[in-house]
Every structure is written in structure tokens, then in C-alpha cells.
Symmetry: C2
Amino acid sequence: MTEAPAALIGVDWGSSNVRAYLMTGGGTILDAIASADGVATVAPGAFAATFRRLVGGWLDQWPALPVLASGMVGSRNGWREAPYVPCPADARAIAADLLAVEAAGRRVLIVPGLSCESEDGQPDVMRGEEVEILGIATQGARLVVLPGSHCKWVAVDEEEIARFQTFVTGELFAALRDHTLIGAFARTAPMGAPGEAFARGVLRGASAAQGADGSGLIGALFGARSLPLTGKLAEADAGDYLSGLLIGAEIVEARRRFPRENPQVAGASALAQRYLAAFAVLGERASAAPPGAAARGLLVVARQAGLL
Amino acid sequence: MTEAPAALIGVDWGSSNVRAYLMTGGGTILDAIASADGVATVAPGAFAATFRRLVGGWLDQWPALPVLASGMVGSRNGWREAPYVPCPADARAIAADLLAVEAAGRRVLIVPGLSCESEDGQPDVMRGEEVEILGIATQGARLVVLPGSHCKWVAVDEEEIARFQTFVTGELFAALRDHTLIGAFARTAPMGAPGEAFARGVLRGASAAQGADGSGLIGALFGARSLPLTGKLAEADAGDYLSGLLIGAEIVEARRRFPRENPQVAGASALAQRYLAAFAVLGERASAAPPGAAARGLLVVARQAGLL
């Protein structure tokens, strides 16, 4: 059996990293490139040159291969701004709005991000995650959680992205830990695998978000200081506790809008492991999403766009 | 009628500032000193010398006058640690636990802070605010709100401090504004008097803390970015909106534990004005606490300690 030929160059181009894939039409990854040339590091006007430097070898070797790029590369600060596609949106709707740019005589198709509006009128946006979700949705997911600075919860209906919401949990944790007095104990505490203090934080954050016992999140946050200060939590556990507190609160909040379905947690990061641990603490059935979602999602969009 | 003689040197010695008062037994302030020699700026072992430098003139002129000091001066990083007095506590209980230190042959009595435990077992502490509250309580207050980095809500019962809780609203606002992507618009926005965007933020924060429309605080925070990003909030209003969001959420949270009573908001700061505006937006009756609370509270403690 001969190896299937390369059929797509897919680029997942985020703020801080780029991952590029040389793929067959069946989704086999023949070659991959990872680099720190994220959108935030590329000067305006330098995207075509950066692109050429990153995947020039593939372009030369495969002069007719289509190129698809997703992520912050399509933002205002990226190569060119690709307007958001409103939810609900499936791969076909997304593929219908690809934005073409030119580099080294080749056409690069940029995948647009998605927009959404919550019941209370708050707008929401994503760029890049939509491709990952399409990659996960092919395997039957109905609720996907993508942990990160801005964690996304996404409802999927028959491979259509129905709606989503952003929770600023990761960014909130970093700002509190690094720049507040209540985060001072957490700042010096080691962060290993989630342990007992994490579980305690998850339960406390969940009750706070529920308003149980007359509590709430802003008040519960003071515990990250007052518990170690009064010897009721080991100082070394303060970071784990604070992390649990925020993730526990997020899960309760998010479950108001995304009830019932068992979540699939995307990514293999330590943070994704924390989310899986938090779901377990709260007695919820959650699973890790299958790996390789971004590459698979790029292939889904490429197919809908007739590139394959 | 001759002027009443000086009867007390009272020092309100916080982390970043010192205010000292030369007072008569009836509470008239004969002289006052304000300085930036807060506890955070004084080297360990240098408190006696700093004290002498600040109020040496009064000490020389009034060789028999009692000296009472409150605030972070009694913390672990202060002059000497004065153990917390548990709530409920009145002026007599606080006066019973004054801690004496020596400086220039004079005795300085340090007022202890208060500790408290909430219904869900979270410990809470204050240092310095208890004196302010005693000063306000003499005028009949039953619920006092002291805005700041760590805002305190305090229930007062017949001039006894019944219980209190800390909300980290101010510190949360600063960390989000100065150190996150969702705070980027707020960071560059001017902060004037609270306006329409503030009111909008208060209402949104209040619904989020109530979990109304399936919302919650961590999700609502993303609005500080997504609303200006999509043109649904002027960029110049982002700071006012974020400030309102957090204060509105705090008020709803705090009202779970401190219902019914009309709050008195302590201090004449711009932040205190924001709290009064937020209470008004939520249809609550709140008033400004009478000024001069710290000096009056020091006098209350001095009387209970038999110093006058």
C-alpha cells in the first residue's frame, strides 16, 4: 500500500504559537511544524514573510496544495481581519466565509472566528477554537470545554456549533495570584497535580457561585488569604486552593447555561487535567476530548470549502 | 470659656498612611498630623523612632497624655502583633486587650484587630476598621460598609460589632484593570464621576451575582472586553462599567449575609461615592457615615480602657 499524498497545509495560528500540519485527505499528518511565531510577535505587514519562512519547504515541494489558516491570524491584529460568523454555525457556514490573502504567489484561506450573544445580551467571540470544536464534534461531542486564559464552553448540536460562552477564569487566576495581596500565599506556593486543597477550593467555589450559606465569589476569594493566615490551610496549598475555587465557581456558573450534557474537555494540558479533576470533585461525568482536534477541524473546513 | 485640655493622643496607623490626633476628652481635635509613614514603609525595629519623629512635639508638650494606636501597627509586620479579638466585640472587649509597647519612655497602647468566622467557616480579620466602626456606631449605625481594596461589611448591634465580612472588590478591580486582556479597555479609559456606564455595570453585576438569566460573575467579566470590542459600550466607558460590575456583584453577595438594614458608607473618598451611587442604582437607601470616625472611635476605646 502506498502512502496517501499530501492534500492540505493547515495552520493553527494563535496569539503566542503556530502549529502547521501537512495532511493527507484522510487526515493523516505527514509532517508538522511548531513555532513561537504567534500573531502577537509578528510585525504588521510581516505575516506573508513569516508564513513563507515557516512552511516554505512544503510550499516548494507541493506547489498546488491548498492552505488553510485559523486562529488570531484572522483578527484585527493578524494578517487580515476575517469578520466573525454568527452562531449557530456549522463547518459549511464557516467555510463559506473564508478570507483569502496572498503570500509568495500562494493563496492562504483564513478561517473566520465565531460570534454569539448570550441570553442577557452579552456579546461573545472566539477565534481558532471553532476549528478545534469542529474537530471534536466529528466524534459526537455535545458539550466541549476548552480551558485557557479565556475558557470557552461550547454547545454542539449535530456537528453545528450552537452557542458558546467565555469565562475569564485563567486570566482571573493569574491576575489574582501575581498582583494582589489575597494572592500572596498562592504566589509562593508550588503548583503540582491537583490535590486535596484543590478539591476543597472546587467545593467552596461551587457553593460560592450558588450563593449557598449566604456566600458569593468576591467574598470567598478572601479565603485564599484568610485561611492560610489563620492556619486553616497550609501556605503551600494556597495556589491549589485558589485555582480550585475559581474553576469550581466557573463550572457552577457555566452549568446554568450548559446543563445536562457530559462535557468533553479539550487539550492535554495540566489545566485540562485540573478541569477533569474539578468535574470529578463535583460528581460530574466529564471526559478528555480526543487529541488532534485542530488538524482534524481544519480538514473538515477544507472539505466543506471544496479544497479537497 | 477656656479651651478643654488635651486628653489623648490617638494614632490611626495603617499600611500606607498615619493620621495622629491630639484630642480633648470630649472629642475636640486640637491638632492633627498626617504622614505617609505607613507600616509598610517602616523598617522592623524602627517603629519607636518613627513614632517619636511623628508626634514627639506633642509628647514633649504633654508629658502625661495617654497614647492609643490602631491599625496595621498591631499586625505581624507592625510594631508588635496584637492578637485578634473575636466577634462579637464591643469597645470594652477591645479595650480589655490593648497591647502596651514602649517608646521614648512613654507607653503606647495598641488596639487589637478583630476576627470573625462566617457561616461557612471562612475566617475573616480586620485591623483599624474596628475603631472607625466604633466611631460610627456611636451615632446609631447598624450596618457599616467600608470601601477599599478589601471592602468590609460590618453588622453593628447596640454599639457592639456583631460580625463582618471582607469583599476583595477593590483589589480585584485593580488586578483586572492593570493586568488582564479583559481589562485592557478599562485600563486606558478615564475614571470620572460614576455615570451611565457605571449604572449599567452595577445592574449587570447584580444580575450576575444573582445568577439571573443563567449568568454569573466570571462570565459577566468578559463583557468588559466583548462589549467595547463589538461597539456595544464606548471604550471610554469600560473602566466605569467594570467598576460598576464588581460593586454591583459585591452588594448582591453581601446582602445575602447582611440583609435589611440601611448601610452607612464610611469615608469621603471617590470610592465611597461610587458605593453610594451603586446603592442608589439598586434602589437601596444608603447614607454617608459621619466624618471623623477614626478619631472618635479611638476616644471610645480610650474611655473604656480608663485612659480618660
